[in-house]
């Protein structure tokens, strides 16, 4: 690690610490001041308060079942996609992995339309909520299974299986499963399962809208967060936030550690081959792909349809008509809601500003971790976990911390500092950038770099002419991911108290949904805004798929 690298690494770590870790320290400091340092009491308080009773059990159980169902649905899709050749494969892959970047609030709206009184009408039956939630989590997370498993499947040299067929250990299907497929796929499936568990564990919007009576630790924290961190006023809120955060943090730390171990295992090189060699045509695969596409697109389609379906308030109360009135309402804005164009403009500006910060920062962090792996493995592991911390932190904690930080620095920033929402977006997106760039850096062929060095190329030139072109695909994926996540980011920017002029698309959707829905145009207007957000996300995703490099296709 030369001095230049050290400087970059140090800047990245400091910046990351200021943006992400400082708010957490502020929040913890204040919460502990209110509740005292007594972790056992924090956890016990969860069962002592009506608002949080039973949430621990529910969070664990639903995450477990969500993970199982996600694998059951996602793995066949990954298999079919990976082992066979398909027309417009990049397009198919984007369509199937799209849900992961769709804001949860849109997903929730779509699911409710399908299960609601004018859809399948199954919501009146409480027993259906559980499976609706689990299925929604599977819908949301199958992208993880596809992204983790499909690259392994699509590039595993078919010779391996052919050779195994000739050996006594590979005669039966089960023996091949045991000796080839499980060892090959287990790390990928396990890593994807860890991530799925993490995302289901911290699920908020889907739980809030679908299960209604049951809550996760995250949705409970969101409920009480506004009154937390205040001495002498509703102090139980601080106990709940600390107790829930502690459990969430421990569980996620274990998952992230497991992930990190598994991901390193995934780098173990199996004999690879070109996709063209691995994949063959298989029309039966459509039996898996067609229902999968339907499953993935249905909630999204229902959002689009919902934007055009307007309740006829004057006639029979249950009748609907097709109309673009919801779109007009969204485009023009009304009451206290800005027009769609304003929210779109804000969203675009925020997401590009986020990109300018999060991408170099994430890259620098990933690069520092990668360099440290050779020099100081222990430190690199610590830094890797450190960069994944935001995955483990609740939006409630980040929101409280950012607010306390602002009060310390300059309280008027809460309404004057236009940049504020970007901070929240950076916190959320940097870990994703690191997770995308790091595996790509690890799988870079060092020979190119060595040869260039021997040929006397300067460090900067080597970076610009060798490393950057080789990393192009991953950087593009990270770019699109950052843009998409920022565009759809809701939780953290919602909790950071905000100037009403900074409304983004997801905030506009939420404001519209928050308005009493007596007005028949409220629902179609919010669906119209959601449609715009969805289409932008979709376009971004399709663009990136056409640039995606075969080699660095891991993770997201």
């Amino acid at each position: 690690m030369n001095s230049l690298q050290k400087i970059f690494g140090a800047i990245a770590v400091v910046l990351y610490t200021i943006i992400t870790i400082a708010p957490i320290v502020f929040a913890l400091d204040r919460l502990i001041l209110v509740s005292g340092f007594n972790p056992t009491f924090w956890v016990q308080s969860l069962d002592k308060n009506y608002v949080s009773q039973g949430t621990i059990g529910f969070t664990f159980i639903q995450s477990f079942f969500s993970t199982i169902l996600t694998i059951l649905i996602g793995f066949p899709i990954a298999w079919v996609l990976g082992r066979h050749s398909w027309p417009f494969k990049a397009f198919l892959r984007s369509i199937l992995t799209l849900p992961f970047v769709i804001p949860a609030i849109i997903a929730a709206m779509g699911v409710l339309t399908i299960t609601g009184p004018y859809g399948l009408d199954i919501r009146t039956e409480e027993s259906t909520w559980w499976w609706t939630l689990i299925l929604s989590h599977a819908w949301f997370n199958i992208a993880l299974i596809i992204r983790f498993c499909e690259p392994v499947l699509s590039t595993l040299n078919p010779n391996l299986e052919e050779q195994l067929l000739l050996l006594p250990n590979g005669v039966t299907f089960y023996s091949r499963l045991k000796n080839l497929w499980i060892p090959v796929l287990a790390p990928a499936v396990a890593a994807a399962s860890c991530m799925t568990f993490v995302f289901s564990f911290t699920s908020f919007a889907l739980v809030k809208w679908i299960t209604v009576r049951d809550k996760t630790l995250e949705s409970t924290m969101a409920e009480v967060s506004s009154s937390s961190g205040i001495q002498g006023y509703m102090e139980s809120s601080s106990d709940i936030v600390l107790g829930a955060s502690l459990i969430q943090f421990l569980v996620l730390l274990i998952s992230l550690w497991l992930m990190s171990v598994l991901q390193r295992k995934r780098q173990t090189k199996w004999q690879q081959a070109s996709e063209n060699l691995v994949q063959n045509k298989n029309t039966k695969g459509w039996l898996v792909l067609a229902p999968a596409i339907f499953f993935v697109q249905l909630p999204l389609l229902s959002v689009i349809l919902g934007s055009l379906r307007v309740r006829d308030a004057s006639a029979d109360s249950t009748s609907f008509k097709w109309s673009t009135a919801g779109w007009s309402e969204a485009l023009q804005g009304s009451y206290s809601f800005p027009p769609l164009s304003e929210a779109l403009f804000n969203s675009m500006i925020y997401s590009f500003t986020t990109l300018i910060i999060a991408l170099p920062l994430g890259y620098a962090l990933a690069s520092t971790i990668h360099i440290l792996e050779e020099k100081n493995l222990h430190l690199s592991k610590i830094l890797e976990i450190y960069t994944m911390l935001p995955f483990a932190l609740s939006a409630a904690m980040i929101g409280l911390g950012v607010m306390l930080g602002i009060i310390k620095l300059n309280p008027s920033a809460a309404y004057d500092f236009w940049f504020l929402p970007v901070l929240a977006h950076v916190i959320i997106t940097v870990p994703f950038v690191v997770r995308i760039i790091l595996p790509a850096l690890r799988s870079l062929d060092l020979n190119y770099e060595e040869n260039a060095k021997v040929l006397g190329m300067s460090k900067l030139n080597r970076f610009l002419k060798i490393k950057l072109p080789l990393m192009k695909g991953s950087i593009l994926v990270a770019t699109v991911f950052t843009l998409a996540m920022s565009l759809g980011e809701f939780g953290a920017s919602f909790i950071v108290a905000r100037n009403s002029e900074w409304t983004t698309l997801p905030l506009l959707i939420d404001s519209l949904r928050g308005k009493p829905m007596k007005d028949p145009l409220t629902v179609p207007a919010s669906n119209a805004v959601a449609t715009v957000l969805m289409i932008i996300t979709m376009i971004l995703f399709l663009v990136v798929e056409s640039f995606r490099n075969q080699k660095d296709r891991g993770m997201f």
Binding site: R123, D416, K518
Partner: protein, 368 residues
């Protein structure tokens, strides 16, 4: 990691800190009014821009979740001098804000104040000092679906204990007093209801019995009304479940339903003695803020042109003398004025709220 590295970390931090604080050091001007509020529908874009055009004062609005979040935000920002005005604290939160000395007196134009309605605000007198000015109001009470609770399928309840009967098992939805102001208002009403009954312990016993009877407790009003209640417009919304025939809303909610539905509603309000809570929402200047500008906005908020629109814009009563709900589409006709609402003084609310919430929590977590 050596000393050289650490030195660089320190240098970088020193370089970055002024950069950040530079971005933050914008001073607020005299021509600015910083309002903290929740999504009060009455504060529409056009209403705000009209005020800005008339006065030349620029409004900066910080929107938080609900009335409780306004109070929390004020407490967290106490002493920073950055907030000028809070809009939306109601009488379940205002006494706490006064108790904590967060608010500042203003001299709102007397001619406007004298027009504030006093007759409708009986029997619970709103706060009358200079620390807060009411801008809208309404009674919180039990609403029921009259198409189901018709005396045949379900008996119309005449007292709160009726709701603990088996026929109401899982059929009642209340917003939580911990996280919702209508929920808090209703809890206060039940407190008063049982203090008039045989003994005070009944408050906790009733809530425990309700819990045993599978009462649905939601985090906010909209979840109880839109998702669970069968009598309202919730059935047109996607998240609708429709498992509760009684909920807590405003006594004039059936009027609002009727107004939107062209003079038709199946929702009705229950007029049970001491179960309705009179809610008033206030605008208050904040200590350390620009009270002159806050005053101007409060006057604007209670000016006849703006405040008379409350029933339409904000679905609440106007606080002006002589103003009422519109007759159109049965808005007035379907809006009940409870005959004997609960009586709890602002003073008691300010002093005991935390204790009452604890008692409620205890009742709801008590096992059989």
């Amino acid at each position: 990691m050596n000393n050289f590295f650490l030195t660089k970390v320190v240098i970088v931090t020193l370089v970055l800190t002024p950069l950040f604080s530079g971005c933050l050091s914008e001073e607020s001007s005299d021509n600015e009014l910083v309002i903290v509020t929740y999504d009060v529908n009455a504060l529409s874009d056009s209403m705000i821009s009209q005020f800005e055009n008339n006065t030349g004062i620029e409004i900066k609005m910080i929107k938080v979740d609900d009335a409780g979040s306004i109070l929390s935000y004020l407490i967290q920002n106490e002493g920073t001098g950055t907030i000028d005005l809070a809009i939306g604290l109601d009488n379940t939160y205002l006494p706490t804000a006064i108790e904590l000395d967060l608010l500042k007196e203003v001299n709102v134009n007397q001619t406007l104040l004298s027009r504030l309605n006093s007759s409708k605000m009986q029997p619970l007198k709103p706060y009358e000092g200079k620390l807060a000015t009411p801008f809208d109001m309404g009674y919180i009470c039990l609403n029921y679906d009259s198409s189901v609770v018709d005396g045949l399928n379900f008996t119309v309840p005449t007292g709160l204990w009726d709701l603990t009967e088996p026929e109401w098992k899982g059929k009642v939805a209340f917003p939580s007093p911990i996280t919702s102001s209508p929920g808090r208002g209703f809890m206060l009403a039940t407190l008063d209801y049982f203090s008039w009954q045989s003994n005070d312990e009944d408050f906790g016993n009733w809530w425990t019995a309700m819990k045993e009877n599978d009462v649905i407790i939601t985090s906010g009003w909209s979840e109880a009304y839109e998702t669970h209640y069968t009598g309202g417009y919730g059935e047109y919304t996607e998240g609708y479940i429709g498992d509760a025939h009684i909920t807590v809303s405003y006594c004039h909610s059936p009027g609002v339903e009727s107004w939107y539905n062209g003079n038709w509603t199946k929702s009705a309000s229950l007029d049970i003695s001491k179960t309705a809570f009179f809610q008033v929402e206030y605008a208050s200047a904040i200590k350390g803020g620009n009270s002159e500008n806050a005053e101007k906005f409060i006057e604007y908020l209670i000016s006849p042109n703006v405040n008379s629109q409350m029933p339409i814009e904000n679905l609440m009563y106007s606080v002006l003398e002589g103003e009422d709900l519109p007759e159109e589409n049965g808005y007035r006709f379907h809006s009940l004025i409870p005959s004997d609402p609960a009586l709890i003084s602002n003073h008691d609310i300010g002093r005991n709220m935390e204790l009452w919430l604890e008692e409620w929590n205890l009742a709801m977590t008590k096992s059989e």
